[in-house]
Symmetry: C2
Subunit: 729 residues, 2 copies
């Protein structure tokens, strides 16, 4: 009796101790312990000191595309990879990159003010005092231009803002607009301004979004001081990313190139980013209507919309040259399945020093690769081939990764299991986005990585935040829009992809400024690089599981639930639009707008809107209903016990490609994925079920119905693909 009790206790103890080791998706039960031991060994090899030293080294000088220091970093990484046992090389593309020659912005009426366009060096951070080495602030892929016109304040310069201007009877035709950063990806601002007839665009960081309003400014605190300027690309990436002259194919040395004047992703109007110090005199000189409350920032002025009397002169010319983009590609051949590739990447180019963006992620990748290499040297080689990549030219438009994917498209589509991306990293919470067929695997990994601050798993900490925000405590992957190098993989090539990082406790205003330095990072971001190590542990586990799993860890239950949720959203979207239009029209009948308008304020009588038709979504509902049956059957099937694993894995790794449509999305065929795309008018912001959703948003009902057909067909093919797994023995 006594013995039995003790034995019972032991069993309970053992089962609780080994609970987290009881299963790993894609691994047979008897292999789980071995993989977990491998991961434990991997963890032990990771050193925060390496991250620290490498960050200091890589971010010592500005290293944007085409710089000597960028090349030096690439060559240094190749050497490092080689020393860890990788076949490493630099693959270079020749890509168009504009360097600013003339940047002139002046207020010429009613007062004169010449914008300084220069951020000041700060005490205690010598990196900010490197003078001409610091890339002048500008927006890459702004067109050249020399324009003079009245100024109009357009808030964030997104579609809703132009609707508001329209309501107020304000036209930006022939004007220069000034828009705040945020609210959308920056490239949307000049794109939309040009569509509306503006002839120039200024973008500034309002201190409300990015300055003293948020917290103490650098160097006292982490936030943007009055002189800081966010650089950044304004290339029309939602059309296609990568080299503007070689859409859809690699920008190899002798590739055929578009004439620059024909390149559709260069902006139509000149655009320049400025600091809030420079924006203040411009905004203060505006008159006309007072901006609505949600438009107002934190500058100590009454925000007016204009147009004028402020009049500005904007002159921009660039040195348009082909520059070499040096991607570092490091391979570690798989023992069992050398032609199944797990690709892992982070970019290495930065706008200036880029300690946070991208070096914090880059050094975590390097340390992860070093540990994996050491394990391999010790005989623990991956079963599948690993390819570690350090991309160049991400900042100007995902150029390095896009050219590489375009250049190697067929082979990549054939061989790649998945692409795992990282970028800048910081202190806080796990952020994981990507293909929902990988959600179950990522969740398992997240329960095995400990949070450096809290002594619980990063999954548990993330779950706590989700509860606090009203969720169920079990958040899934976010959907990928754009903004980093996963885009060519998932959205063009149809390769399952993930984007992984930590953050939420590292806010600041250094993004794309001269203040994103090692000094800033060590004070405000992840001082002991503990979250860099957490990132290496997380991404490394994902890589090692993808590399060694008997059955590739794809799971379609979460995928189905998520996509079903998107369809529900789209249904609600049309219903809400319909109700809003009905109400709007009823309000016009009842004179609600005219009766409530203040007659001392400008008022433009709104007109009735076309009713929102009922769209036949049934093909989508049916396709997803059928998929549900398939997915559930697949969930009940023990894949690890199948004998035809080769066929199985081949089908699993190619499933994501079935979700693409060869002709791509309307008016932007480069984007082929039917579930995820960056928004045509949001930029980085994702649009799920993009063909259908954007047709609805643009009220293009004919296109909506045809996109429903394309999407339904895609889902049916996906169903057939999964059913072909279901019949495997």
């Amino acid at each position: 009796m006594k013995i039995k009790i003790v034995l019972g206790l032991l069993l309970i103890l053992q089962s609780s101790l080994t609970f987290s080791q009881s299963s790993i998706i894609g691994f047979e039960a008897h292999q789980v312990a071995q993989q977990k031991n491998l991961e434990a060994e991997f963890d032990k090899m990771l050193s925060a000191d390496n991250l620290d030293q490498w960050m200091k080294f890589m971010s010592a000088e500005p290293h944007y595309l085409g710089t000597a220091y960028g090349r030096k970093n690439a060559e240094w990484m190749v050497k490092q990879f080689k020393s860890w046992g990788y076949e490493a090389k630099i693959e270079t593309y020749q890509v168009l990159f504009p360097y600013p020659k003339v940047r002139l912005l002046e207020l010429i009426a009613p007062e004169k003010y010449k914008a300084k366009l220069t951020a000041v060096p700060v005490a205690g951070d010598a990196y900010t005092d490197q003078g001409d080495a610091l890339l002048p602030s500008y927006n890459a892929f702004s067109t050249d231009g020399d324009v003079t016109a009245e100024l109009v304040f357009v808030n964030y310069g997104i579609p809703a803002d132009y609707e508001e201007l329209e309501k107020r009877g304000i036209d930006v035709k022939g004007k220069i607009v000034i828009a705040k950063y945020y609210g959308s990806w920056r490239g949307i601002k000049p794109k939309l301004a040009a569509e509306k007839g503006a002839i120039g665009c200024i973008i500034y960081s309002d201190p409300k979004d990015d300055g003293f309003y948020a917290g103490d400014v650098y160097p006292k605190g982490a936030f943007k001081n009055a002189t800081g300027v966010q650089r950044g690309s304004v290339m029309d990436m939602p059309l296609y990313p990568g080299d503007v002259l070689t859409p859809g194919y690699g920008a190899t040395k002798n590739a055929k190139r578009l004439d620059r004047k024909d390149a559709p992703t260069i902006t139509k109007i000149p655009v320049l980013p400025i600091s809030y110090e420079d924006a203040l005199p411009l905004l203060a000189a505006l008159e006309g209507q007072v901006a609505p409350p949600s438009w107002r920032g934190a500058l100590p002025i009454t925000y007016h919309i204009g147009p004028g009397p402020a009049k500005v002169h904007l002159k921009l010319t660039f040195d348009w040259q082909l520059k070499p983009a040096h991607n570092v590609i490091a391979k570690l051949k798989g023992t069992d399945f050398p032609d199944q590739w797990v690709i892992r990447g982070n970019h290495h180019d930065a706008w200036v020093h880029g300690a946070a963006d991208p070096v914090s992620g880059m050094v975590a990748l390097l340390e992860e690769a070093r540990a994996v290499g050491m394990l391999a040297k010790a005989g623990k080689k991956p079963k599948r081939t690993l390819i570690y990549c350090a991309w160049d030219a991400e900042e100007p438009g995902l150029i390095g990764s896009t050219e590489w994917v375009e250049d190697h498209l067929e082979e990549l589509q054939q061989k790649t299991v998945a692409y795992i991306n990282t970028d800048g990293n910081g202190r806080g919470f796990l952020g994981a986005g990507g293909s929902h067929s990988l959600e179950a695997m990522v969740k398992e990994v997240a329960t095995d990585v400990m949070d450096p601050q809290k002594g619980v798993s990063v999954a548990e900490r993330l779950g706590a935040r989700d509860l606090l925000n009203g969720g169920d405590g079990n958040p899934g992957l976010y959907a990928l829009g754009s903004g980093s190098d996963y885009t060519p993989f998932i959205q063009h090539a149809g390769i399952a992809a993930l984007n992984i990082g930590f953050g939420g406790e590292n806010s600041g205003g250094e993004y794309h400024t001269i203040y994103d330095t090692y000094a800033h990072y060590k004070r405000f971001k992840d001082p002991d690089l503990a979250y860099g190590i957490a990132l290496a542990k997380t991404a490394g586990r994902i890589v090692l599981r993808l590399a060694n799993a008997e059955v590739l860890p794809f799971e379609f239950g979460a995928w189905h639930t998520t996509v079903q949720g998107y369809l529900t959203e789209i249904n609600a979207l049309t219903t809400n639009m319909r109700e809003a239009v009905e109400q709007h029209n009823a309000f016009i009948d009842k004179k609600v707008f005219s009766l409530t308008a203040d007659p001392t304020q400008p008022f433009k009588q709104p007109v009735k809107k076309a009713i929102v038709p009922y769209v036949d979504f049934s093909p989508l509902h049916n396709a997803l209903a059928n998929l549900k049956v398939t997915v559930e059957a697949l969930g009940e099937k023990s894949l690890v016990s199948l004998t035809s694993k080769e066929t199985l894995n081949d089908k699993l790794m190619h499933a994501e490609q079935v979700l693409t449509f060869a002709s791509g999305l309307p008016r932007r065929g480069w984007y082929r994925h039917q579930i995820y795309a960056p928004g045509f008018y949001t930029g980085y912001g994702v649009k799920t079920l993009p063909g259908v959703r954007e047709a609805i948003e643009q009220e293009n009902w004919e296109e909506c119905q045809s996109q429903v057909t394309i999407l339904a067909t895609t889902l049916q093919k996906f169903d057939a693909h999964l059913q072909s797994i279901l019949v495997l023995n």
Copy 2:
């Protein structure tokens, strides 16, 4: 056939023309036309020129309590009333009024700054250049004090803000707090600060709420410039308003008075209002935690909470004197029911010139009274007695009206039909609050008054705004809290009351500053005084219908619907509190707060809260269910055809008193009304079903249950009172 058609058209035309004349609540069908004709005549007599001239005259100089100009205005009004046929006189009370002798506020560390405490005169407005005649900015009924301490920023200084401070582990004990105006009535700020242990309180107008953020500042625009200071009383009015030394009885010359040190409505700590120019150096000198986003204002600084290192010295001494408050009381005797009084009032004292507050409302009342007087001289005398009142000493604490009501309490309760209040008035939408038994009458009136700008009735314009804001287009009366002279009538005496005004298109920052001048009003408020005329038409109609109705126009359907709504709110309040506590406690069990806290920020582990018990609201539900039957029966009864109208009207005019409870609300017996009261911790903001609601909010469950009993008994008495009408013949 042809003739028939024409006749039919004529009938349609006639019926549409006379539609609005088809009925008036309380009037027999055959009397409706006569009353409507009277109102049309009344309308024609009203002159905007009078309003303009009188406003210019009355607001030419500062006329706060005790000034020569205040007395001059009162005497001038008596003369005017007499010339219009009224018996008019001044009734004077001797009330305590503090005048500032010493006002010193200085930052003494880490830098030195001495607050200017002076608003600047502005070009184009000579009224602002009257030097010493302008009352220095201060908060009346601040105690004397001389304190030095570290500063803490407490946002609006309301209960939720102290909860936030508590969460962050910040204590104001022994500190001086600086709070923004708004978020509550100002008197709550020093009251709560003192309860929390602070030793001094500074109140400032943040430009976000009241300055350049809202619009261009004076004199360019209507809003508060950097030097403007809002004066105002901080007397603890939610305890009792009126003279601080004579609670509950008239402050007649020989009345027994409290010692000043025993006056419970004088603040416990010194408090001073300042401009944002003076607040800036103080706030900029704070360190410590960054204030949460919702706390941050529009000054160009990072808002920190402190405490310190900013240290301030605040010294205030006042000249505490009895001053004469001159109420103007003008009677026009009713022909048929001289002992049924319709009382109409507006205050005449202002903090400085008070063109908007109160003169804009005062001159509309005068013009209304003039027209009514002219009608009477022409033989169209009111059936009931009208009493027009111009109150003194409203600004320091509703003193003139309160002393008068307390002094004449018994007679007023016996004879008053209703009290109709107005105050500052402006351009825009009708705002009408008050006893819901008068809602049906007010709605009828609102359909008969045309909006000066839109060519539709003020009801239709208000309905349009309600639709725009998501309502059903048929808004009722708002419930009265406090903030003007209706308070002693409804909440102390139980006299049905209304508060009427126009606004919404006259925003600005002049409130209680030296900028509330005739010049400002004519530019930004109601330039042609058209809404002053609309106010006279609205209030005049209400007065004339109350004066002449066969049956007093009380109706209880809207009352019941409204009060039932309050009960529903209270039910939901406890449910929401219960769910919030349950979630809070569950979050503690799941470590949600500690796991999500940023370890680099101060964190105080929250503790579990007591569960919210289920309260027995059934006595209220039952009382209201019974009342519903009574009210519906009353709605079906033709009151105008009853023979016993004398009894009927007597019962109708005294119904509101049945809603009072003689011992008043807990800890503030002066407030007797069981349906409406100003909030103990909101000040002006109303709390409906206050005894029960505030017990819930304070989580005093024992008191809650006893207040349910009191309220249910009150409602039962009200039911019995209405039933006694039901049996009349």
